[in-house]
């Protein structure tokens, strides 16, 4: 395996309806790294992830996955994606297994699932502790269980890179613990992870590096900002020692 980064964004700019959302961001994620993308609402962290998967077009800069320009990247089975969502339900009932199986399509030729594929789907359900709900409709699940199903769907292809957009949003405590355990096992097995987070929360011990965005620019790229005591309060101003004098304090909290 080569040393090239798994994810590489260089000078990426993007617009949503002619409003600049990313103003030239650089982001590199190496093999086996766990990187958190932090920032307030509207800072561009979700957009940055969506340029990676081709959901948002890039107006300038280069996006690479596994060393291949995103436009020419075809090896999607290596990528597992968990979109920011509160529900896995569509307009027609679907079981947990049916939803998770669609995550395996990147490894199934012509959409035909073989025995090995069905086993991978069952393993993914086991990993998130939803194997006993396999035949239930996703409409009958709680928010946290939905999120576990969406993560199982991403894991079904046995990806080398996991991209998760706010996996902890609206998730109950029990499910948060299951998710943290699942993620820990994936990281231990060598999976590279890019997490979009509002706050570090229960995943903090897993995170190698944090990248903080504000107004579409990278503000911090380094060890996760430590927040203790009063500094941990949401909305608290986080002042960086290496920020230029007179720079505005970084706000990463909920209220900023």
């Amino acid at each position: 395996m080569s040393d090239e980064p798994v994810i590489s964004l260089r000078g990426v700019r993007a617009e949503l309806g002619s409003r600049p959302v990313l103003r030239g961001i650089d982001l590199t994620v190496g093999r086996g790294e766990v990187v958190a993308l932090l920032g307030a609402n509207g800072s561009g962290k979700s957009t940055a992830v969506r340029t990676l998967i081709g959901q948002v077009p890039v107006t300038a800069g280069a996006v690479e996955l596994f060393g291949t320009p995103r436009r020419r990247f075809r090896d999607w089975a290596r990528v597992g994606y968990v979109p920011q969502r509160t529900t896995a339900a569509g307009g027609v009932p679907a079981t947990v297994t049916e939803v998770v199986s669609s995550g395996r399509l990147s490894r199934a030729r012509l959409g035909i699932l073989r025995k090995a594929d069905h086993e991978a789907v069952r393993r993914a359900l086991d990993l998130v502790g939803m194997a006993d709900r396999a035949k239930d409709s996703v409409n009958a699940l709680s928010g946290g269980q939905h999120q576990r199903v969406l993560i199982a769907r991403a894991l079904a292809a046995e990806p080398e890179l996991l991209i998760m957009d706010e996996p902890m949003a609206g998730v109950d405590l029990a499910s948060q613990e299951v998710l943290a355990t699942t993620l820990r096992a994936q990281v231990a097995a060598g999976t590279t992870v890019l997490l979009v987070l509002h706050e570090l929360g229960p995943l903090e011990p897993l995170i190698d590096r944090a990248v903080v965005l504000r107004d579409g620019c990278v503000l911090h790229d380094g060890p996760p900002p430590e927040a203790v005591g009063q500094h941990a309060l949401p909305g608290h101003d986080h002042v960086h020692p290496h920020a230029p004098a007179g720079a505005e304090p970084i706000r990463t909290g909920l209220l900023s």
Binding site: P93, E98, S102
Partner: protein, 300 residues
Amino acid sequence: MEILNYAFMQRALLAAVLVGVTAPAIGIYLVQRRQALMGDGIGHVAMTGVGLGFLLSWSPVWMATLVSVLGAVLMELIRWYGKTRGDVALAMLFYGGMAGGVMFINLAPGGSNANLTSYLFGSLSTVSESDVTAICLLAAFVVLVTLGLRRQLFAVSQDEEFARVTGLPVRALNLLTAVTAAVTVTVAMRVVGLLLVSALMVVPVAAAQQLTRSFAATFAVSVAIGVAVTLSGTVTSYYQDVPPGATIVLLTIGAFVLMTVLAAPLARRRARAASAAGPAADPAECRVPATRGAADDAGV
């Protein structure tokens, strides 16, 4: 069954069965992606095709197929690029299609709105040999797509963004769904009519999901309902001398009401079974713990 002795009734029943299979088969994906009324829009656009068919003395079925496929592709393009003004553009397409149909049919030699009526509300008894051939070919295409690509279409209709990351050709599959829906509209045109097509695409699916929990079961039950209502509607219209299209649609809505009534006790039984299986998972009452746990301390 004396009804089977007449060639026109054989053709009518065959056409009815094919519509009963194909309309819910593509309709389920439209309902899943919350575009339940797309079939209605395509039906409006297909009127221009029928009008053109009369004007150019072409087969109205094939002309309607061509125009409604083009219309469906245009609708899909509007959905990609239209964004805020998308719904207005769609409205113009629908009503432009309807107006075009009325205009062309009146320009056609000897044409009048009376010709259009049989396409608007269906005219099963006048289904010809060549109509049946066209309907069979088009229905085979719809079944092939909706069954053969069911996993791909399910993934795209469930979550387009995720489907893109599994490497599926999302735009191609969206276009294929639109084209298949357009083909289905023309298959159903002679049976229930362009104005009632959408009912057969949507209502059997809505009826089926009152009872089902999985996509596969919803697919199977809605096709079964589709076939049951188109067959019984056709037979009823033969014996009672009522319009088949309207009979079929009313029977479908009847099936929906029946399923909803049947589903209520079933849902209650499922809820009881669920609470018996795992009382800890979803307790109906609040339980107050004797001592405070760590999770009770609200962080500020």
